[in-house]
Symmetry: C2
Subunit: 222 residues, 2 copies
DNA sequence: TGTTGTGAAGGCGTTCACAGCC
DNA sequence: GGCTGTGAACGCCTTCACAACA
């Protein structure tokens, strides 16, 4: 069981978790891999394979206990605890992320915000004050921050990443418009909004060039 | 050349485009696949393979002309024109996206914003006024909107997606915390911020359970 | 009978390695 | 000699298909 887990499996686990959350609200007790698959937009074999990386959670002939499976996934994803997050960048994007309530709901608390602009350092944001980036190492240490979010202009992003790593953060979520490099001891995830729109533009363009060609995008459960 | 293009290739094209943009600013005339690879964090073979889906842009022994290749990629990604975008949802996320300047810089113009809340409909946002979602079909038609961005609560997201498709939009960018289903004639991309943080949490957790095991994440050019 | 868990097969994107050309 | 373009090899993730079992 000491196996490498595909990133895609971890992503789907998050999807399953949301579906299970809703099933539990509906007071559904049990769900089959097929039921879970249909609502997650994948195949039932995929569901079973994904779960099998972590254990045997189902009962043959019956399916999975909704509440039980949800608890297992919560443990796997580390959602049974809260995570402290540092946000770097107090501009548009940073302020939007700060007020995005879903983070807190999922267990991620932005406990410090950093910037370098004299206009922003010292500004009060709800229950905290924007600190200068130079204070990053001290605050990471003092507060026990494990995750850093980068929401600064592209040209500053790599330097910020370096400082986050240096400060001892182990996970970095990058919103900057720039490919970043971090040591292998740190995990990096990227969110690039323009890139997603560019992907859409490409697909629309390609489709109109040769209409009605693509195959089903919606995976069916079987 | 009538080949299916991997999504990952299209994403990397966006990365190459950004690198080429910077090279051009530096007045660099020529770049090898290796040079491009190093700055994009992939292998040189990957760069050549990606580009080869679309044509022969390089010169053997020399490399690629920076300005020329950039122009080619701009055409491939459809960045040589402007795209009209409808934003649905005038909450925190929607307002952040609306003020995200990078979109406009890349050629994507949010030309209409929709909501259903009486508090928000009629509100003035810079040079436009939030319309009721019921006006979506008329406005998509009138303005020639091709892309829709969903920034509404999870439970409303699928209905909004259906209405966007119905209105004739061909690309949908979903920020809602929910898996969406659209017909194969529409392209869907998802951005799920919580999911990214959950992925980081999983990786951090996994690493601390068995320290120093992962292999290099930074691909080296060779 | 219904559904899981999983080894085997399949498919697709990445990497290799080299012929071809500047 | 240097570098591209690409068929072939490779590897990883997904899908299949079925034995195991409630």
């Amino acid at each position: 069981m000491e196996l490498r887990i595909p990133t895609s499996t971890v992503r789907r686990l998050s999807d399953y978790y949301r579906v299970l959350e809703e099933l539990e609200l509906d007071a559904t007790k049990t769900v089959s891999s097929q039921g879970l698959a249909r609502q997650s937009g994948v195949t039932s074999a995929q569901v079973r394979k994904d779960l099998s990386y972590f254990g045997n959670f189902g009962k043959r002939g019956l399916g999975y206990n909704v509440a039980g499976l949800r608890r297992e996934i919560r443990l796997i994803l580390g959602l049974n605890r809260r995570w402290k997050v540092a946000l770097v960048g107090g501009g548009n994007m940073g302020s939007a992320l700060y007020s995005y309530k879903e983070f807190r709901r999922q267990g991620f608390d932005i406990v410090a915000v950093f910037d370098v602009s004299p206009n922003r350092v010292g500004q009060r944001w709800k229950d905290l004050v924007i600190a200068h980036l130079d204070r990053l190492p001290a605050e990471v240490d003092r507060l026990g921050i494990e995750i850093g979010v980068i929401a600064v202009p592209a040209r500053a992003a790599q330097a910020v990443a370096d400082r986050l790593v240096e400060a001892g953060v182990h996970g970095v979520l990058n919103f900057a418009h720039r490919k970043l490099f971090v040591p292998t001891t740190t995990t990096l995830r990227n969110v690039n909004l323009s890139l997603e729109l560019e992907g859409l533009a490409f697909a629309i363009k390609a489709r109109s060039a040769r209409p009605a060609r693509r195959v089903a995008r919606r995976a069916r459960a079987r």
